[in-house]
């Protein structure tokens, strides 16, 4: 797959500029996007987890419980509200953030995001690894299947929404626009 190739290429390059990614070598779900903001700006935005629901579909809120712990709540339009506690497992300002759900939580997830300077003032390359095949639970898969989407599409969509939000201040949408699918009577 194309994404895998790209990531592989980026991973190599990235290693040469020092961040250690050995823990993530074998993960399959890696995504890359280029965002026209500096690594520090994107890091700061992302590090404040209360910003995540602004671009992550279905994520209703994130409550900060302590400097490293937070409570994530997902609200499915058709299904139940699900929440879990997550903790930050590593944090290198301006470079990368890693988090995972607590061992006893109902939903198991793990993620890592890295921010690299893109060449020629193009902003940053953002690399996201999502582990949603942790033994004991496949939350993202399960959540997205309920909505008829696949998890890859959802993660990619969310990354694009993050990019749009940071670059333009809004996320493109047509939700709520008019269409002939819901005609109205003229008064």
């Amino acid at each position: 797959m194309e994404t895998t190739k790209t990531n592989h290429h980026l991973r190599k390059k990235h290693e040469s500029i020092k961040i250690n990614s050995s823990n993530y070598e074998r993960e399959e779900n890696q995504f890359a996007i280029t965002i026209k903001k500096s690594p520090t700006e994107i890091y700061s935005f992302f590090r404040d987890f209360t910003n995540l629901p602004r671009f992550m579909k279905d994520l209703k809120e994130v409550n900060i419980l302590s400097p490293l712990r937070s409570k994530w709540t997902v609200n499915l339009s058709l299904g139940p509200t699900v929440s879990w506690d997550a903790e930050i497992i590593h944090d290198i300002p301006g470079e990368s953030i890693g988090w995972k759900s607590l061992d006893d939580s109902e939903v198991k997830t793990k993620g890592k995001i890295r921010f690299l300077s893109a060449p020629a003032g193009k902003g940053s390359i953002v690399l996201l690894s999502m582990d949603y095949s942790v033994p004991g639970g496949k939350p993202v898969e399960w959540l997205t299947k309920l909505k008829g989407e696949d998890p890859h599409t959802l993660v990619l969509t969310n990354l694009k929404r993050l990019k749009a939000l940071l670059e333009t201040g809004e996320i493109p949408t047509t939700e709520g626009q008019s269409s002939g699918r819901e005609p109205v009577e003229l008064h």
């Binding site: 026209k36 694009k160 333009t168 201040g169 996320i171 493109p172 047509t174 002939g180 003229l186």
Partner: protein, 390 residues
């Protein structure tokens, strides 16, 4: 409000729908005064563009008056008369900053779907299928315009709608097509298709210094309009071998550059054209690229092929060997409309061109469904239809 909705292949209806509202902070709501039907809309009408949904509001050549603006709109004001670019650009991404507005990264909410089809997603487009964002179009009484500061050209008072409406699409499209030819003094440009885009390309090629323009079509009235713009014409059904004819007329060299202003639904009676029709009918091909094939064959060595005509999928029997053998340059794509609107408005104001020359019919919104049918079936009488919305 009333809107023209796509209801399926060869079916357009006037429907009463909800008025649009501001959905994002850089949006505006515009009362549409005039809209046009484009050759691109015919591809939708024929059902050859994937991911249309019943009830989608059509139209991407639109102008009107600003009624309301979102809280982060800075430049455009309520009451302004604006022409709206057909492609929706954010104005801040890497591509927008490089004037590649139709390649904008941030306006297609369905970008992931587009990437699955094309590897990357272009900008969202008004009224042009869900893979291009599914935005409600402008053949309606009102339209919501995202990033209005980037996508609108404010029109000075006193210029009638008809003179500036085509800054929304076909004039920039014809102009960019000609610009992509990199015309040098003395050049001959051959243009397939004498529809509105072809007509704008003819005039633009002359504005950019072409010595000769050869216009190719099989509709007499359109060829007549082309010759009134100064082009030499070839009726491809009457000509004795279109490629021989072009070669002869260009002293054996072929045109310096060729423009395909026909796109994916070329007509013709060549063997390849007939095969295309059969294959497309049974779903074995997505496009009928006969004009493109001819342009590739005709072009001179080292020449440029400029393709404003729209293609959607996988093309059959494209003579790539000819293109390679002659070292052709290809330039194509959706127009970066926003890049051209202002300079072309200046050309209109300096009276170098009045794009309204292509208009043959001025109709109302209620006439919309018949207008689509007529434009589709009767290319002789209908060259460009505009619809008065208010």
């Amino acid at each position: 409000m009333k809107a023209l909705c796509w209801e399926g292949k060869h079916s357009v209806a006037v429907k009463n729908v909800r008025d649009p509202k501001i959905l994002n902070p850089h949006d505006a709501i515009v009362k549409v005064t005039t809209a046009a039907i484009c050759g691109s809309d015919l591809h939708l009408y024929d059902g050859v563009i994937p991911t249309m949904e019943k009830g989608d509001i059509l139209g991407h050549e639109t102008m009107g008056e600003v009624m309301e603006v979102g809280p982060l709109v800075k430049r455009v004001k309520v009451g302004d008369r604006i022409v709206i670019a057909f492609d929706i650009a954010c104005g801040s991404c890497h591509h927008c900053e490089s004037d590649e507005f139709s390649a904008c990264d941030n306006t297609n909410p369905n970008a992931v779907l587009a990437e699955k089809l094309y590897g990357q997603s272009g900008a969202g487009l008004f009224g042009y299928s869900h893979v291009y964002g599914g935005y409600a179009g402008g053949q309606a009484e009102f339209i919501r315009v995202p990033f209005v500061d980037t996508n609108a050209l404010v029109i000075p008072k006193g210029i009638p709608d008809e003179k500036v409406l085509f800054l929304s699409d076909i004039f920039p499209t014809g102009y960019m097509a000609a610009e992509n030819c990199q015309i040098k003094r003395g050049d001959t440009v051959a243009i397939w298709g004498a529809g509105p885009v072809g007509q704008m390309a003819i005039r633009s090629a002359f504005l950019l210094g072409a010595e000769r323009v050869i216009s190719i079509d099989h509709v007499a009235s359109r060829l007549k309009m082309a010759s009134e713009s100064g082009a030499e014409t070839i009726h491809f059904e009457e000509a004795d071998g279109i490629l021989d004819e072009i070669k002869y007329r260009t002293g054996g060299c072929g045109p310096d550059s060729c423009i395909d202003a026909v796109g994916m639904e070329a007509h013709g009676h060549t063997i390849t054209a007939s095969l295309d029709r059969v294959k497309m009918a049974v779903g074995l091909a997505t496009d009928r690229p006969d004009a493109l094939r001819q342009a590739m064959q005709a072009c001179k060595k080292g020449g440029t092929l400029s393709i404003p005509g729209v293609y959607g999928g996988f093309l059959d029997k494209v003579p790539f060997g000819a293109a390679f053998g002659k070292g052709l340059t290809f330039k194509m794509g959706q127009t970066h409309t926003q890049k051209y609107m202002k300079p072309l408005l200046n050309r209109i104001m300096k009276e170098e061109i009045d794009p309204s020359f292509v208009i043959t019919h001025r109709l109302g919104i209620e006439d919309g469904p018949d207008a689509y049918k007529a434009f589709h079936e009767n290319k002789e009488d209908y060259i460009k239809i505009i619809l008065k919305m208010h």
